[in-house]
Amino acid sequence: MRWLACELHTHTVHSDGRQTLQELGNGAARLGFDCLALTDHNTMSGLADKQIVEQSAGIFILPGMEWTTFHGHMVTIGLDDYVDWREAQPANIHDGVAAVHRHGGLAGLAHPFRIGSPACTGCYWEYAVQDWNDFDYIEVWSGTFAPIKTDNSRAFSLWTDKLNEGHRIAATSGRDWHEQADTEEPISVTYLGVKNETTIDTEQAVAALRQGRVSVTIGPLVNLEVISAAQVYGLGSIVPAGEGAVTAQVSIDCTVRSGLWALPHPDYHLILISNKGVIADYPLGSSDGLLELQAELPRDGLIWMRAELRGIVRGIRTMVAFTNPVYFE
């Protein structure tokens, strides 16, 4: 499994960004990203420069578009053609999602709790959702220093609520990146787990996000596997009901994007959390290498479990990273 460092929410001069795709690609590559999704507002015209920027910046570009509608912003990724955003009404968003899926794309809620009209029309998600399984992901971390932001906490809680209700839905970060301005704030990375170690393509990245092989962080890459006597279940996998005793194995890799982030004296805690609450809480202190942990799992009533890495960032104890869940039948 190769973990692609992705930035999944970006804008250029083709909408209201103040950067060309070349500037965006160069900037993302400098920050150690392998892949970015171009999600301009209501247009895909910026993709005309995709190949030339991929080659010169050394980064893979996923096609996308942010539906910038009156009642919610919806990020769409991986689709092969434009889908009309202007028919979206408060009660019919599932029609739009279905059309995105027909074109091979994925649909996610963008920053669902950012203040809406008149500060930012559509920034707050107001679409009626009949079936949460219809959505592929929720962008739970928006912007820089995402884990401390109130709007993101609400989005994260929404995601957890939906997991508790039994839905299987991924969670991502997105900077909503509009310009090449330096920031001192921690930058989020969404890692997508792809099976091909050597080449990157849209199909693989879309499959990773659709299946929940996703880990989000402002620093170390956290991975979680559930291991039985017969098999290893990675992020997004479903452990069958008939499976016997299982163990959780967590790895925390502090060497990713080396030199491009720093969390001094983080006093990490690794938490395994599920629909049954906290399963385990390991104080890890501060580390800059690769850590591995194992824990026996109670299966009774378990429907999902994820790993969360918490620590001290800029003097604030907060979440540093989280995996997407492993699910249990």
Binding site: V13, H41, T43, S45, A48, F70, Y82, R86, G116, Y124
Partner: protein, 154 residues
């Protein structure tokens, strides 16, 4: 000139689309659009604060309202936002979702303004859509023009 329209909208038109169609009965080299609206800003910040306070009732949890109110001025001045998108007789030709209140745009076979897709300027019915994301001023006037650059005579 295919379209030359001046009109006005008000806050009741927020979150709606206005569409203008015109027939193109001959091939042309390029299609040009001019779009302008004013005012851009709601200068009355007291009114802006009032509108924001109302919106916080809807968008912020009660326990976070005080904090949100204390930071309300970062959203001021409030602004109108109208964006423009283009459809040719067969397909979507893109959108220009940006905050500029004056936009001069073009489409041709080989090039187009950022946000729009280059391609043949085919005959048939073209549609310009104005998307009124937010109108916060009592009135907002706009001017939309569409015209063509003719093919050079052979």
């Amino acid at each position: 000139m295919f379209i030359d329209i001046k009109s006005a909208v008000n806050p009741n038109h927020s979150q709606s689309h206005i569409r203008y169609s015109f027939p193109l009965d001959r091939p042309v080299k390029a299609l040009y659009l001019y779009f302008e609206y004013e005012p851009k800003l709601l200068d009355d910040n007291a009114q802006g604060r009032k509108l924001l306070e109302q919106s916080l009732e809807r968008y912020v949890l009660p326990e976070q309202k005080e904090l949100a109110l204390s930071g309300i001025d970062r959203y001021l001045p409030l602004s109108n936002l109208i964006t423009i998108s283009v459809d040719d007789p067969n397909e979507y030709r893109g959108a220009c979702h940006r905050h500029d209140s004056i936009q001069q745009l073009f489409l041709s076979e080989s090039a187009a303004s950022p946000g729009l897709l280059p391609g043949e300027i085919i005959t048939g019915t073209w549609t310009i859509t104005l998307s009124l994301h937010s109108i916060v001023t009592g009135s907002c006037t706009y001017h939309l023009k569409a015209w063509a650059e003719e093919e050079e005579a052979i």
